[in-house]
Symmetry: D3
Subunit: 314 residues, 6 copies
């Protein structure tokens, strides 16, 4: 395995595979077209210019395409840039896979699936359990591979499932501390709350927003899906409405995308658990990158705050 593009110094020669994250066409001063490619591997991203690009190039080098590229790492206005010497699409015989070039959750898919299955097994309310099983079956592949977002938190392969499992663990502990909680309702809410992202986002490798994602959004998408599932499963009891409400209200406020705020205890908790897990994911990853005594960069999704890592330990 290659050492990763982020670890190359200016002047070094790169000669390995990367994934095309984005590709934009431009016209150079000499009137000839060129491509600005954004290439990535698990370590990071680099911009690359392919001068005098042919129309064939334009068709070959598109997002999600894996490429073999050689070139020199330069610096242009303070940022690294790859000066491409040669580039070609990766072939099946190259033995590389796009998934090896994007970040992954720290836990394997199978393990995440096992944990979710275990929790579903603990549920006693048959209606909630059947609805959850319906979705696990219908979206299993996507559920286990999609990121939880395109940026900010859990923005990597299996990020969605990893986020769900962390929240389930938290939900389970809260049930111990506050026994009045209806754990089945909370578990079902946790598992389904962001599943609409599998329709909101275009895919795993280079996710962008779909038209449905932009115009409807994952929350109303999922509310509709639950309604449809209930009709198929012929469940007409209150569990359906309450579960739709859990999903609908999980952003907490109208300004944050929930037209109805949480009006059921477990819905309020779902919102809070989601907040904690997303924030811990952002904070831990940012704090890892700095040394004790330093501040992180400003975190946009944390109200633009920079966080301090204290000098002392437990």
């Amino acid at each position: 395995m290659n050492k990763g593009i982020a670890n190359y110094n200016v002047g070094e020669l790169f000669d390995y595979f990367m994934l095309v994250r984005a590709a934009n066409k431009g016209i150079a001063s000499n009137g000839k077209p060129f491509l600005t490619l954004l290439l990535k591997d698990v370590s990071g991203e680099i911009e690359a210019k392919l001068w005098e690009a042919t129309s064939e190039d334009e068709e070959l080098f598109v997002p999600e395409q894996l490429v073999k590229v050689t070139g020199e790492v330069n610096q242009f206005r303070g940022r690294s840039q790859l000066k491409i010497h040669s580039i070609r699409p990766a072939q099946s015989t190259d033995g590389v896979h796009p998934n090896d070039f994007i970040e992954k959750a720290p836990v394997e898919k199978d393990e995440l699936m096992a944990r979710i299955t275990e929790i579903i097994f603990e549920m006693k309310n048959p209606n909630l359990q059947r609805i959850v099983r319906y979705f696990i079956k219908k979206y299993q592949e996507a559920l286990l591979t999609y990121p939880a977002a395109v940026k900010n938190h859990h923005e990597y392969v299996s990020g969605l499932a990893y986020h769900i499992v962390s929240m389930l663990n938290l939900a389970k502990e809260l049930k111990v501390l506050y026994p009045d909680i209806n754990k089945d309702l909370l578990y079902a809410g946790v598992i389904l709350h962001d599943l609409g992202k599998t329709k909101e986002l275009s895919g795993v490798t280079a996710p962008s927003y779909t038209l449905e994602g932009k115009l409807i959004g994952h929350i109303p998408i999922m509310v509709e899906e639950i309604g449809q599932a209930a009709r198929e499963l012929q469940i007409e009891t209150e569990e359906v409405t309450i579960l739709q409400h859990m999903v609908l209200s999980h952003h907490g406020k109208a300004e944050w995308g929930s037209p109805t705020p949480p009006l059921v205890r477990e819905a309020e908790l779902l919102h809070l658990i989601d907040l904690i897990d997303a924030k811990m994911n952002m904070l831990n990853r940012s704090l890892e990158k700095v040394k004790p005594g330093e501040f992180t960069d400003r975190l946009f999704a944390m109200d633009n705050r920079a966080f301090y890592r204290p000098l002392f330990d437990e």
Copy 2:
């Protein structure tokens, strides 16, 4: 027909039918139960006390029940109150109907239906037309009788259909002034935008919010319904998503209940047309009640403003 409860003076004897709008049980100082009834006819409402109420009374005098009542109009703390002499439920032989005791739109149901049908007939896009027809068929009775809201604007029988027809007329004129508009999309949006109210509200006669109305709300309800209709009609083209977006965004902003703001021209127009018709309905009805040179009461749904009726004419 009776002259209407609002036109009785203090001291007069009332002896006719009214509709129970609300009923609440209380305990008097002597320890005996009593009922506070809110009775109404088309002219207005009056509070009435039924002292020493039996448990049979409690069961008889419930919301939506039509009653025959005699009593004297008194005044208590500046407000009229009916002192009940006798009261009994109306019977089929009385020849009265609840609908005669609640306010109605100024246009008849048949005429409203005819106008909607006419507009649907003008639509050329087959997918939009089929979806609209599906809903007209499915909800015809409710569409033609429900109010558009429980208060503020069009809060009377057939208010929803009347609101739709006014908006359709406005939409038709806008198409003339701005020919780029996709009129089929706008018509479809106008007809369907508030149809979820037929599930959000409990009924026509004494409407209150249903559980689904409180926890989900008419907007997500209708987004789901359109999805379901499309599946039944096997329509899978972009019209479905755009129509769902029209309904989803018609309140204009997240703070006002639309998690996605309008991102399609016709969706923006739908929001504006809805605004104009609702405001004109509120303003006209309030201004009718005051004389030239006076201000109306403060209108809660118009940012609590009191409006002035000028002295001069055209």
Copy 3:
């Protein structure tokens, strides 16, 4: 023990002890002074009128005074009112204590203290541990008896300690789920965050805001206290500043009383844990009072929402 004022019906005779919660003087239409007393026991509160009150009465019947009262439960404008037949201050020979007339945490003081001690014992950072021990020693009595607030949540005897212990339990579980957390810092923050309330509030029995509470508030009070403690303990390391920051930022935002928002991971968590425990306390107590299928009253401290209690179980 008496059955509690909340369980008396209109017309019943009350003859037992209650605590004076508030006392206000008025002048009756006949020009004679009277006292409006708010009397309470653990079950609830009732208003009582003492007509033709003497100046001696005014001095006797003041907040926090325990009284023996006989009278009849009446109803006035829909609310219960006690018509006093006779009233006198309780005496030491009566064998009653004010604490028996106010609500208490569901866990005993000793047990709460034991749990806090246990947690402190787990702390490894000596500076944090010493500061926490300093405060436990200095404020032990108040810490174990004060409410956590005058209303909304944990507004009863030992409410503060009960709130701390719940939060410590939650903190301990979070450490398991997110091992990067500095648990010592989080524990210290939890134990100290609201301790300034013992200066902000006037006492346990009938708490009101002190002048210092109104003009400074429990957050700056506690920041100062930590600084003073550190000087006495001669601790000059970063732990002091970070701990002051934890307390200062625990309301999360400037608008909510924290001039600096959380800028340390454990400070962010402290804010979130505080939110969860306060909200669960409010929700559980409100939901207990309603039946499945009903909504609670609107909860002011939960953005005025009314919460629904579903019909179904786990």
Copy 4:
């Protein structure tokens, strides 16, 4: 006529007239002054550098000056730039006029004037009619040539009159749908509402804000003008105050520049009509530039939304 600067490719030679939109002096690395000119024709704008500019150049090449320029279209940091070979002011013998180099409303001045006259003729209230006629006479030239704004909507020659005529058409239709409207008041409000822009902006060709525009603004300017007109016409009836109120309140809210919100029905409508016409103008022009299935750029004056153009037709 030239094909328009926006249609030149990199490398092409430009040799025609353009209008100076802005001119800024700079000092090059060699210490010599140069001019950065922004040149425009109806098709668009281009930046041009005039190196080693003399002080005479500085005086010649100023905003609103028409120039004859030859040069090569280059590209600099991704944007087109004109490398000037020669430049001179246009002369009367060149037969070109600044108005030919700026965008115009799609309807001719005479036609716009005719439509406004027609509407005024329909007015019956003599006071409103006289005031409107006073202003048409006083500001006819400016009214028919000014843009309605410097950017966002109707920002072209005759934009103001075009905006007024569109709004008048809309007002006329609304009168049919809602006959209670005082059409004379609404027409007068529409015609006068933005007339203060003729003092707020510096002119037609290259409009910027005047000092009066910056410190007072078109709304208070016009309120004063109406007061002055009424004194000259010796009209002292309520129409004057109401018309001033129409202008004052037409931005709808204090935050948007109306210290008093609309408190008269026709003032509320004026605000809504203004909103619709401005939004339709922005939306139509942005949507024309994109293909079906694409999103427009983000529109600043539409809350920074990007709008989608659907694939399907009516």
Copy 5:
């Protein structure tokens, strides 16, 4: 002179003159009309009921009317109320004047006028001085008698002039501390800033908002007046625009009624001086009413804060 209605006890007989502040007609339970009068003198206000009022009574007892009244001070629902025995309009022979029944500024009109004149004399800029003199002449009587507001601050006879003089004194000191200030501009702004109140309010004795006050407001009214004055005085220099800007911007922000915020140094200062003098007026009058160690009532115009009066002195 009478001791003042606020100093009467329940049961006492009142027999003197008072001013009618407001009068509302009602219908009693017996179907007969009655008048609810709000009567006042300098000490305070009291509600009075005139039962079985004739239509002559309705015409006689209107706002601003001085009346001779005898009656008994009662108490009704905790508030004082005057039970009228007899009432008649005051007559010229009674030797009483409405002004004696309303609060006045602590400084006499003549003295206020002298101070304003003195300041105008110090002005050197002839244009500003002429405009100010124009207004002093035009509105002298109103300027010296009007209140500065209907409630909150300087809400008494000559309140406007008193407010102006306090602000002029403050402006003069600021000129000493910050010599860059253009004192003439600041003085002119101070004198004219609230003069529009003489058109916004209905009068001195029982001020309410005029139609012009409600629909236009004192700020745009005064901007127009300055424009008109300048035309009459044939002043066309920048002073006019800047002075209009001073008045227009003196509320500081759009949300507070200034569509343009201060963009000139002296305009910013005018806003701040206005704030200080209004706040000091409110604070001093509220703090006078409480004893050291107490809080005032909540002051609505001070963000609903209650202020503390400390125990210690200088």
Copy 6:
């Protein structure tokens, strides 16, 4: 003395001392490290590049270091840049001092100290006077040299003391105009309100925020300091709490950093005086830089407004 870096033209040779304001390391395209230095003297700042910087250079050229530098003033992308020919740290024999390279208050330290002393001498309340004296003694050096802020207003040597003295002068005049003011309390508040800045900021020469400054802030820091001082001086009266409240509330609102708003008259005044002096400082310095008839740059701390300097004089 040198003419100041801001007065050099492009192409001129600079050969004198400057102060390093900031230093950042970069890597050039050739892979070699370079330093970007921000150099300053009293006239302004300039960016300078030190190519092929050694690790010794990195250690030598750090913030607050005085350097002797020769180089040519160039222009790069429209901004001046110094091309360094030679650079070395200043030595004690050079006879230059960092303080000569940073801006200073227009009044000398001694004079500022004398004025503060004079005011303290006027105070009569012994507790307030003792607390103020305690701080003057403890922080005299810092108080007289620190800036009042790192940017926006009084951001120069002795800025804090200069700000205090201006505010004291203003406070003294206000006491004359509003004699109810407790001048001792106001003086004490003025002197202490920003003293926490001496801990919030790192120093005088090149101030940045300390960790304590970022995590606690100057307001809570100073509240704690006053508490500590009172304990040392054994003052336990209300003056301590009120003085802490003055400091705590002087930003006026929670959103602006004061968790408690002013609840004492003198606290409200302190806030207003602080506002006036800060704003006058910003406005005067910005307006000095422009000519009559021009606007200043947008001032960030004045809500991003650009201010106009009128053409006319007093």
